[in-house]
Symmetry: C2
DNA sequence: GCCTAGGTCCCGTGT
DNA sequence: ACACGGGGCCTAGGC
């Protein structure tokens, strides 16, 4: 690791180092006293204060205040950087082309600057998402109801969108299934209703619609009853527990 | 500024410094080689790689890979930290109480560590959001239609939620107005429909519903027609241009 | 480019 | 605590 670390740099020296770093596509962290302006979909100003600015190798940039999860200002990956040194200020202009947005950071003081390429080939894997619920249901449709058979996943229903699953119940009814990892509401019921209506026009037999989620909000319950749809409570945790018990294909194999 | 900066610390020394920093409620930035685990609403693992970890004064923590706008793992403000040094590893455990979630970061190597309190009393101000559209419309309802009068803003419509505005047109009809800063869709039409239905039960005269947004998606258009609601195209930019021309009260004065 | 759908979304606000 | 609405949301996938 060849990180270059600078303490208490004058802004004009910081400018030179930063220019080199950006030319070499390095990551840069700057801690210092700055002000920030943004113009684009919205616009904002932030007066002077001490912050952490992170520039990443993919052309993203974040301005972090000493509190809060979110960056106060930022630019997503792929933006263009221009740096300048004038009147004792280190100026960083990060421009995004589409939509056209400009972020300008002006450092009055640079306390610390860390420059260097970071090597990260680590593998990130996530679990207990909607995908895991889908896999569990595919392997064991009786998690939703006894006798259910899954026919297709991610069924294209044209204008209506994509149903998570379509299947068939023990009585031969067509079943459209929409799965949510979290508590569902009106929006999710409406989504299912679209799929069911579309399916009714395509299938020459009774069509049921089942919303699968950990729970359903009051408004969603009202709409669900009006539209004569059904709800089945199921949590990602219970799906995960089920998957643990079953020797199974990997998610990747499932996807192909 | 009294930032403490450490290069190439052994993990056990990093542990001691980090413990002191957290006890003093300082911000900490660590650049190093680490692995990460998360368990909570979902769960994830991330194998070894070089990353930037930021701990903030409000108890939030972010793990940033060298690419991407978003942190790969994180914990929002208010979490509890526990640090440990064992087997040559610096271990940081950040726990959130509700929902119960645990983030564990294990550093194999610490390249740089920066510790210190940051002072940021800067003032952040945002413009051209939905609020600015509302203010422009309030000052000049004819941006929506000639002869419109605004009666109240944020009218409480009980179960149905809050309409952005209610007003009265030149023919004495009651008008419910929903404003969106961005392209609107089905969801926004549905929201307006709720407000209109609620208003109809409360007002003893014809009720119109107008959705105001830069544009309306196809699906939204269909639903809008079905529900006999109306759409008026208006962009935040045009509202901003209007506001610039008018000497006006501040947003704060408007809010009271 | 637009549109759809999801997220450990986060965040404020109100009940 | 839950629910609802908003965000410069961001991100990924399809067309």
């Amino acid at each position: 690791m060849g990180l270059r670390i600078f303490k208490g740099l004058e802004t004009d020296n910081a400018y030179l180092e930063l220019k080199t770093s950006l030319a070499n596509n390095e990551s840069v962290i700057i801690v210092g006293d700055c002000e920030v302006e943004y113009y684009g979909r919205a616009s904002s100003t932030l007066t002077r204060g001490e912050r952490v600015v992170m520039i990443k190798q993919d052309g993203s940039i974040l301005v972090h205040r000493p509190e809060g999860y979110e960056p106060v200002n930022w630019q997503p990956p792929g933006c263009l950087f221009k740096v300048d040194s004038l009147n004792g200020l280190l100026k960083i202009v990060a421009t995004r082309l589409s939509p056209h947005e400009v972020l300008t950071i002006s450092f009055h003081k640079v306390y610390v600057m860390v420059c260097g390429r970071l090597y990260d080939k680590g593998i990130f894997s996530m679990h207990a998402s909607e995908d895991e619920m889908k896999e569990a249901i595919r392997l064991n449709p009786s998690l939703i109801e006894e006798g259910l058979r899954i026919l297709t996943s991610e069924k294209d229903l044209g204008e209506a969108g994509y149903a998570d699953f379509v299947g068939e119940d023990s009585k031969g009814n067509f079943v459209v299934i929409e799965i949510k990892r979290e508590v569902a509401g009106e929006e999710e019921v409406l989504q299912l209703a679209r799929y069911v209506n579309e399916a009714k026009q395509r299938v020459n037999r009774p069509v049921r619609g089942v919303l699968v989620a950990p729970s359903l909000r009051r408004r969603g319950q009202v709409l669900l009853e009006q539209l004569k749809l059904e709800f089945k409570a199921l949590t990602p945790e219970s799906c995960k527990r089920f998957l643990k018990k079953v020797p199974r294909l990997s998610l990747l194999e499932f996807m192909e």
